[in-house]
Structure formats: C-alpha cells, structure tokens
C-alpha cells in the first residue's frame, strides 16, 4: 500500500486524486453497479472496496487508506432503515460521528473524509456523489499534511 504514494505529491498540477471508497455490498455497491449498467459517466478516481455492510467498516480501514496515501476517503452504505442486516448502518453511524471528529482534531480536515447513503436504486446519486467528491478533492489538492503517511527519516 505504501510504495505507490509519492505520485500524488509530485504532480500538483494535473493532479489526479486518489480516493478510496468503502461501500456496502447491498446498497452503495449495487448503486455503483446501476450507475455502470446505466452507462452513467463519472470520475475515475475512486477505488471501491466492497464490504458486506457499513457495520463491517472498521475505522482502521480508513486509517489504512490514509497511511497508504489516499487523498480522501469515502464511506457509503444503505440508508437508515434499509440495512440488509437490520442495524449495521446504525452502528456504523455512531462510530463515524466520533471518529470523524477525532480525525478532524488530528488534522484531517473537512473534504478528506466523506460519508453518504446511496441505495441500490440511486445510480445517478452515486455518479453525482463521485463527481462532486472528486471535484472537491481536486480543488483541495494533494493531501500533503496527511498525518498518517510515513514521514521521511
């Protein structure tokens, strides 16, 4: 994960952000699938990691993505009430509420961590979301002060 991290720093102009998306299998991944089968065009900067449920998304995954040099992380799953496992997203939401505040205190600013609910029917919302997130991260530039990144000795 760490060897490919220098690319983003050297190319400030023409910056192509590296965004990691952790999505649930049942809603957001299906929504992404719908966006694809509907031939919707959206920015190609997001690497999707599919998990069974947002409840499976350990905050460690988010840290690992930053350690590996992600410019931003997106976490997305089923709308409240729609979780395939009834309450996984409610559990996840509690974690996110605290974890994002903690990351903010530690120097991960707004615009480096995104959360959303995208259902299996919301292919258009997924495409719009990815476009919007990508545009925001592009505007913000490379995540140079990423506190999780390996520092040069």
């Amino acid at each position: 994960m760490t060897q490919a991290t220098t690319q983003t720093e050297t190319k400030a102009e023409g910056f192509e952000p590296r965004i990691v998306a952790f999505v649930c299998n049942w809603c957001t991944y299906a929504g992404a699938d719908l966006a694809g089968t509907s031939r919707l065009q959206y920015a190609p900067h997001v690497r999707i990691v599919k998990l069974p449920c947002t409840g499976r998304i350990d905050p460690l995954f988010i840290l690992k993505a930053y350690e590996g040099g992600a410019d931003a992380v997106l976490v997305s799953g089923c709308h409240p009430g729609d979780c395939h496992y009834t309450s996984g997203n409610y559990h996840a939401r509690r974690r996110w509420t605290i974890f994002r505040r903690l990351l903010s205190l530690a120097g991960v600013e707004e615009g480096r961590l995104f959360f959303s609910w995208v259902s299996a029917a919301e292919g258009q919302k997924f495409a719009d979301l990815i476009n919007d997130v990508t545009a925001q991260v592009k505007a913000a530039g490379p995540f140079k002060h990423n506190p999780a990144r390996r520092q040069a000795w």
Binding site: R94, W96, I98, R101, L102, A106, G107, V108, F114
Partner: protein, 271 residues
C-alpha cells in the same frame, strides 16, 4: 492528604477474615513510588497505604487471570476507579458480588461498598467531577489551529512514541483478549522501529476509548515518553457526551455507547 489508612487496613482485614473476599487490591509504598499491593492474608494488611500519589487504576488488574481466579475481591478505589468498575459492570466484565469497593478520596475513607452502593455514591457525591481546566484550554488552542497545524502538532506529540503499549496495559477499559496491535494479517499497526504507525495507534486507541474512558489519567502516567494522551481522552469523552448524552462509568446498566444506537442519532454530515 492521606486517607485514614488504619480504617482501610482494618476494613480489608475484616473482609479477609470473614471470608468475604480472597484478595484485597490496594497500594503500598516502595521508595518514592506507590505500587499495587495484592493482599491475601489478614495479617498482611499493614502494607496497605493510600495518598494522592496513588494514581494507578487498579481496576486494570481485573482482566488478569491471576486476579480473576481470586474473586471475590476488594479494590481500594478513588472515584475514577469506581467509575471504571461501573463501566466494567456495564460491559459485562465483572458481576455483582465479585467486587467489593473500599471507597477512598482525598478527604478519606468512605467505607466498604458493593457495586450497587458504589453506583449510588458516585452519582450522589461525584456526579460532576470537574474536567481539568488546563486540558480544556489546550484543547481549545488545538481546535483553533488550522488542519495543517493540528497535523504538525500531533505528529510532534506522537513522534517519541515507541509503541510500548504501556498506555494500553494501564487502562482498565482495554480488556480485549486480543488487541488489534497483535494482529498481523494484515498488520494494522506498523511494528517498524520508526514513527510510522504511531498516528494509527493513537487514533485507534483514543477511538476505542469512546464511551469507555473515565479520565483517570493512568495511561498518561504510564507513558514513558510523556505523550499527552489525556488531551485525546478528554476530547473523546466530551464528544461522546455532546453527541450521545452519555457519561462513562456512572450507570452499571448503561448500554455501551459505541455498541448501541438510536434511530434518530445525528447524521447531518452524511449526504
């Protein structure tokens, strides 16, 4: 500010003599240090001591097999340690009847209590332990910084960390039998002999304290590098109270903050 030590000693001796407990967990003096005392015989209670230098949180020993096999036991507990005991009860780590409390604070000895009695005392007398004002000032300063400055500030604070995990060992809330730092497929927290991995460790340690930390300060005292862990702990405790109206370690029946949820939890940041 020495609590009346004779009272603690005689209460401990009585509990051991009557067979109500098999072990008394307390403090004793060793040079300039205060170290834990494990008293199993009534004639050993003379070593027990208590003063304001006894900052270690003895509830951390309750996860150890050698201690658990000697239940029921008694613990010399200041208010923060009592809160740890409430928390461990709420998280099903100890049961009513297993732990007796020898309640102490700066004023003195407050008697022998069971867990229910401890909950009552906590909520009546220590319901509002004022947070350290210097912590709040420092936090306010950090929060006023730009993200770049905050990132640099914490990198500097975490830099000396050797990941010895003394903070974890000192904490009664860290009771997982297998911690994520011992897992290596994948290696969640780097084991490299450099600062990489410090950020992930300190973030995840602080996050795992959400709904758990009773702000006893034992982790920061245990840290050989003087990393200001209480800043993170206090921040997390403050956010948990703001977001979920929960204060850790006051209700032995409380649902774990991160293990439970409400339908109407706030989500203004989720699009």
């Amino acid at each position: 500010m020495v609590a009346n030590i004779n009272e603690i000693q005689s209460a401990a001796a009585a509990l051991l003599n009557e067979g109500k407990v098999k072990l008394v967990l307390g403090y004793r003096v060793r040079g300039n240090d205060r170290v834990p005392a494990f008293v199993t015989q009534a004639d050993q209670v003379g070593c027990l001591a208590y003063d304001s230098a006894c900052t270690q949180n003895l509830a951390a020993y309750l996860r150890k097999g050698e201690v658990r096999s000697r239940m029921p036991l008694a613990v010399v507990a200041r208010p923060e340690v009592m809160r740890s005991l409430m928390l461990l009860t709420a998280e099903s780590q100890i049961a009513e009847g297993q732990v007796t409390v020898l309640a102490v604070d700066e004023q003195g000895f407050h008697g022998v209590l069971d867990l229910a009695g401890t909950a009552k005392l906590l909520n009546e007398q220590y319901a509002r332990i004022a947070p350290d004002s210097s912590l709040m000032e420092q936090l306010a300063k950090i929060e006023a910084m730009t993200p770049q400055e905050r990132s640099a500030f914490w990198s500097e604070q975490f830099e000396p960390c050797t990941r010895c995990y003394a903070c974890r060992a000192a904490c009664p809330g860290c009771f997982c039998e297998r911690c994520i730092v011992e897992m290596n497929t994948p290696q969640w927290i780097s084991t490299a002999a450099e600062s990489h991995g410090n950020f992930a460790w300190h973030m995840i340690r602080a996050f795992h304290q959400a709904g758990r930390c009773v702000e006893c300060g034992a982790c920061q005292d245990a840290c050989p590098q003087g990393i200001p862990l209480m800043l993170l702990n206090h921040f997390i405790a403050r956010e948990v109270e703001r977001e979920f109206d929960a204060r850790n370690g006051y209700d032995p029946q409380a649902e774990p903050v991160i293990g439970s949820w409400k339908q109407d939890d706030k989500q203004e940041y989720i699009r």
